[in-house]
């Protein structure tokens, strides 16, 4: 057995050990918040568990080298799988705190076993002072490497899930390698190697599907408690509740937060409503949460609302879940309401009923299917369904975070033959948010705002149409079915903020 190789082993297991600790600490602060508390407790418990490991090591009497390999394989499996398993526990609402500290204790104990066992294996080959000095030197060097690699390379490049799996895999390989390195110390190596291959295989398989795992988890992570979650044919739906009220998420992205949704929905609905000559027939595209409909129903002149949302699960949820129905004031059960669960493009293309006001409240154009609903083709279909002096409003993402995307929607509406008037409002949950009014010609306010609004007033309304320099118009291509530039703008721009 050559000593330098053994010190590389020490170095590797020390790196792995610290990586697990950092993974768990980061994950706890990420999922639970309060990072000072999470890191303090994770580090404290981890160091304590190292002590447990050291203490327990004395009870291992025989087959020290084989037990050393076993400890490595066990820590490879537990530490390697720590991130995916903790994510899973969290998203499935399992006993997360228990799982968190159980993982920390298990990993700490096993890592705590390793160094004492190794010292005992090496005790006859080196003088005590050299042994302690060299083993601990490599141990701390490994820790340094891990603490530098983790924030600079691992988390940004691999993410938590794949980092933990990769180091588990490394640990398992070190275990496997040790069966050769410590061969002279062991009676039979074959069962150990079989176990090592099994552990490596499991981790490798998990690593290969790491992309999907991460994507799945990240869409399920919410700051608040999840009170309702389901997967419909079209999307994953989650309702969360926290101190500031509740929120709706579709595919992991926030649709509204009850604390400030009134800002978003008042700004979405009323500028169009007060500009329309007639408001008898209103069309809402998307908006299955019923909140835009609530604002529309403030006007007594409204005779019918047609709400087109592709996902029956959303409209059912908005009528069924107590808090939501309360928030939208049962708008979906209003006798004037007609809910159509249909693709908006298909709805526009196939009917010929005309509407006085059309409100397009789609999720942001972050994929090609949604991008279609922001094209010249879509807007031409929309125009066909708008009464001669009708008006439409389009939620158009943030003119601050996705400036070119916002002005791309404007350019697209104009290319489709619309007069447009863009405006924006501040919604704390979202940030600066943008909307665009669209009609066949210029439209001035025609009626007063309804009573009972919390955000809009007659005097402040005009200020929404002023764009500060960092959100003002910039050139953008027209979004067409055959270029889908909007999706690309949107992706590029949001990437910079996230």
């Amino acid at each position: 057995m050559r000593r330098p190789l053994l010190f590389i082993t020490v170095f590797a297991i020390a790196t792995c050990g610290l990586v697990y600790e950092l993974v768990v600490g980061t994950l706890a602060s990420y999922l639970l918040g309060d990072s000072v508390f999470q890191f303090s407790t994770v580090i404290g418990v981890y160091l304590f568990a190292l002590g447990i490991g050291s203490f327990v090591s004395r009870y291992i009497e025989s087959g020290v080298a084989a037990r050393f390999v076993d400890a490595e394989l066990a820590v490879a499996l537990i530490g390697g799988a720590s991130a995916p398993i903790l994510f899973l526990t969290f998203t499935r609402s399992g006993p997360f705190h228990f799982a968190l500290y159980a993982t920390v204790v298990a990993v700490g104990t096993l890592v705590g076993l390793e160094i004492p066992l190794l010292l005992r294996i090496l005790k006859d080959r080196l003088r005590f002072k050299d042994l302690v000095s060299q083993v601990l030197t490599f141990d701390y060097l490994g820790a340094l490497l891990a603490s530098l690699l983790f924030p600079i390379v691992l988390v940004p490049r691999l993410g938590l899930v794949r980092t933990s799996l990769a180091f588990g895999l490394l640990n398992a390989l070190v275990g496997l390698w040790s069966t050769w390195l410590l061969k002279t110390e062991m009676t039979s190596v074959r069962p150990l190697r079989v176990r090592a291959f099994a552990v490596a295989g499991i981790l490798l398989a998990a690593f290969a599907s790491g992309d999907r795992l991460t994507q799945y988890y990240e869409e399920q992570i919410y700051a608040d408690e999840v009170v309702h979650a389901e997967s419909s044919a079209y999307q994953r739906i989650a309702v969360t509740r926290g101190r500031r009220g509740f929120a709706l998420f579709l595919n992991g992205s926030l649709q509204f937060a009850s604390a400030d949704e009134y800002r978003y929905h008042e700004a979405l609905v009323h500028p169009a409503m007060i500009r329309a000559r007639s408001i008898a027939r209103v069309l809402i595209l998307g908006g299955g949460d019923g909140l835009a409909a609530r604002e529309v129903l403030r006007y007594a002149e409204v005779k019918s609302i047609t709400l087109v949302d592709i996902d029956p699960a959303i409209t059912a949820l908005a009528g069924k879940v107590g808090e939501l129905a309360e928030l939208n004031r049962n708008s979906l059960r209003d006798p004037r309401m007609r809910v159509v669960n249909e693709d908006a493009m298909r709805f526009l293309a196939e009917g010929d009923e005309r509407f006085d006001v059309a409100i397009a409240d789609f999720p942001d154009p972050n994929n090609f299917s949604l991008g279609k609903l922001y094209t010249t083709h879509f807007y031409r279909l929309l125009q066909r369904r708008l009464a001669e002096d009708g008006i439409a409003v389009i939620q158009s993402t943030s003119p601050l975070f996705a400036r070119r995307a916002f002005w791309c929607v404007d350019a697209t509406l104009r290319a489709a033959g619309f007069w447009t008037e863009p405006y924006h409002a501040h919604v704390p949950s979202f940030g600066e948010w943008g909307y665009i009014l669209a009609a066949r010609g210029a439209r001035e306010p025609f009626r007063e705002l309804p009573l009972g609004l919390r955000f809009l007033t007659e005097t402040t309304l005009a200020t929404l149409f002023e764009f500060p320099a960092d959100m003002s118009r910039i050139d953008a291509e027209v979004n067409r079915l055959n270029n889908q530039v909007l999706v690309r703008y949107y992706e590029d721009e949001w990437k910079r903020w996230n």
Partner: protein, 574 residues
């Protein structure tokens, strides 16, 4: 492993070159699954498939649905019964594919009434036919045309009639209806476990690869911009409009593989792109394809002024939409389906035409003042009576490659990794051409709803006869295995959502423009009318199996017939 022995020594060629199976044809019964996959899909795709699905899955129900092989082969069985008297008609169009219907469309467009189009199959369209099921319409063959660069000519006229050509922009460039232009995402390519945007495999490309791609694109742009002394584009659509200046036609003397070697293009990814273009547009490999024809693919559909063109026009039923439009113009009373014309006897002032009506099971006879034969040369050689005895020299120069098209109906699109489902989905390591999504161009289809995928497979071996035998020897279950094995490695859970598979084989799908063919004597001679009353139309006269060629020669033949009959009508070809 025996696979290794099968693989050619790689000399910078793509993996598509590996193992050519046509040299040892086997019947399907002898083929093991792995041999079948290697033979049709290539080594890499077969390995991926075998790795992925060791366990057995339930076969997707379906069938081989072509019948034209049987009807068409009646031609070979010797003399058929003849009718003694029959119908008189001014113009008889033989063939109801894209060229025959283009001729009919032109005749109808001149206000001409006394004509009839005979199609041997029970469905119109030939290699541009389409099908329909409860989910969607879908193509059985040609499925798009590049958006024409100019508003003049017969194809833009047809598109105008369809409401697809909406006018022109300030610079006179045609503007097309947005919903007919192929929507983004347009193309994606699958490589080693993931999908990537575009057809050129950018991921992992070295700076040298990208530099070569840029050099190639620039070269094509220059060739696209090239014009002769008379102002004709060197590479134009259709081929009849191209310059015949030897500066460019010289390219027809070598294969595109030789041209790439000569120009020192060595990047495997670029070679793959060109090879894919050869297989996609002409159904043959780079070493068999005229460099002129291959350059045409890249240079004819752009002006070469650096501006992005409009892309492609497509419909759920593919070019079946164009077929329907022309059939509507012709009128169903002027179309006879399942009518196999087997003999044309040209006389001084008319043609006597004998046919077999497969529906009535009875012979038919026509006396036509003008005949437009809108079928391929190999059929002409058997149908035109004097050619049976003394075939013209050009006939043997026309070679056609076989294709197989499969339509796979899915309950919903399966999941896939990487770039999302596009219109055209290509597998880098397979010898299939991948598939197009029929519902991509449909306003009615839901993003996750049921759909139909059209999978294309050209049999590219140099010996077309052996390739035809190979296409015919595979059974339905062989094709089922091939289609599913080709697609399963790139789509999770495909088998669970697959509902039905239908397979159509085309024995003579595409003319092969081998070096020397496009600018050679045979093609020129074949374009001549026989006497004054028998005219010819087909894509093979253009040397490239494309709708624009079919349409051009169909219109041209119709105008010749009209001229012979004294019908004066300004030409649509100007």
């Amino acid at each position: 492993m025996e696979l290794k022995g099968d693989r050619k020594v790689s000399t910078g060629e793509t993996e598509l070159e590996a193992s050519h199976p046509a040299s040892h044809p086997r019947t399907s019964g002898d083929l093991s699954r792995r041999e079948l996959l290697v033979s049709f899909l290539g080594v890499a795709a077969a390995e991926a498939a075998c790795l992925r699905s060791r366990r057995t899955r339930e076969a997707v129900p379906g069938a081989i649905v072509d019948r034209a092989f049987e009807t068409g082969h009646l031609l070979r069985q010797g003399p058929l019964e003849l009718a003694s008297d029959g119908q008189k008609v001014d113009v008889l169009v033989v063939g109801g594919g894209a060229s025959g219907l283009s001729a009919g469309w032109r005749l109808a467009g001149a206000g001409f009434e006394d004509f009839l189009v005979c199609e041997l199959d029970d469905d119109l369209g030939g290699t541009a036919r389409s099908g329909k099921n409860s989910v969607t319409s879908f193509p059985w063959g040609a499925h798009y045309i590049p958006a024409p660069l100019r508003s003049q000519g017969p194809v833009p006229r047809l598109l105008g009639e369809m409401g697809v050509l909406e006018g022109a922009d300030g610079a006179g460039r045609p503007r097309y209806a947005e919903q007919v232009l192929v929507a983004e995402p347009e193309e994606r390519v699958f490589y080693k476990g993931s999908w990537y945007e575009g057809l050129y495999l950018r991921v992992g490309a070295t700076p040298q690869d990208l530099a070569e791609l840029a050099r190639f694109e620039k070269a094509m742009e220059e060739l696209a911009a090239a014009r002769d002394g008379r102002g004709r584009k060197a590479f134009d659509v259709p081929s009849a409009r191209c310059s015949d200046d030897s500066e460019w036609t010289a390219l027809d003397r070598i294969s595109i593989a030789e041209w790439l070697d000569r120009e020192r293009y060595r990047s495997p990814r670029l070679r793959w792109l060109v090879e894919y273009a050869c297989r996609d547009d002409h159904g043959c490999t780079a070493d068999q394809l005229s460099a002129w024809a291959a350059v045409w693919y890249f240079a004819a559909r752009q002006e070469g002024d650096g501006r992005r063109n409009e892309g492609y026009l497509s419909w759920p039923e593919g070019n079946g939409k164009l077929i329907q439009q022309m059939a509507k113009a012709v009128g169903s009373h002027r179309i006879a389906k399942s009518c196999l014309v087997h003999t044309i006897e040209p006389r001084a002032d008319r043609c006597i035409v004998h046919a077999f009506d497969a529906i009535a099971g009875a012979p038919r006879r026509f006396t036509a003042r003008q005949v437009i034969f809108a079928g391929p040369r190999f059929v002409a050689g058997r149908v035109i009576a004097p050619w049976r005895e003394s075939p013209p020299a050009f006939l043997s120069e026309f070679q056609y490659g076989p294709w197989v098209v499969a339509n796979l109906t899915l309950r919903q699109p399966p999941r896939s990794r990487g770039f999302p489902l596009a219109w055209d989905n290509v597998l880098y390591e397979s010898r299939s051409l991948g598939y197009v999504v029929a519902t991509h161009q449909s306003a009615k289809a839901l993003p996750d709803g049921p759909t139909v995928w059209t999978w294309y497979y050209p049999l590219t071996g140099a010996d077309v006869r052996a390739e035809r035998a190979r296409a015919l020897s595979a059974t339905y279950s062989d094709w089922e295995e091939l289609v599913m094995s080709d697609l399963i490695p790139a789509h999770q859970g495909l088998a669970a959502v697959a509902e039905r598979l239908e397979v159509m084989r085309f024995g003579h799908a595409m003319i092969r423009p081998r070096p020397g063919f496009i600018w050679g004597k045979a093609r020129r001679d074949a374009q001549q009318s026989l006497g004054r009353n028998l005219h010819f139309a087909h894509t093979d006269l253009g040397g490239m199996a494309l709708f624009e060629e079919a349409n051009w020669f169909g219109v041209r033949a119709a105008e010749r017939a009209l001229a012979e009959l004294g019908y004066l009508s300004p030409s649509w070809l100007a």
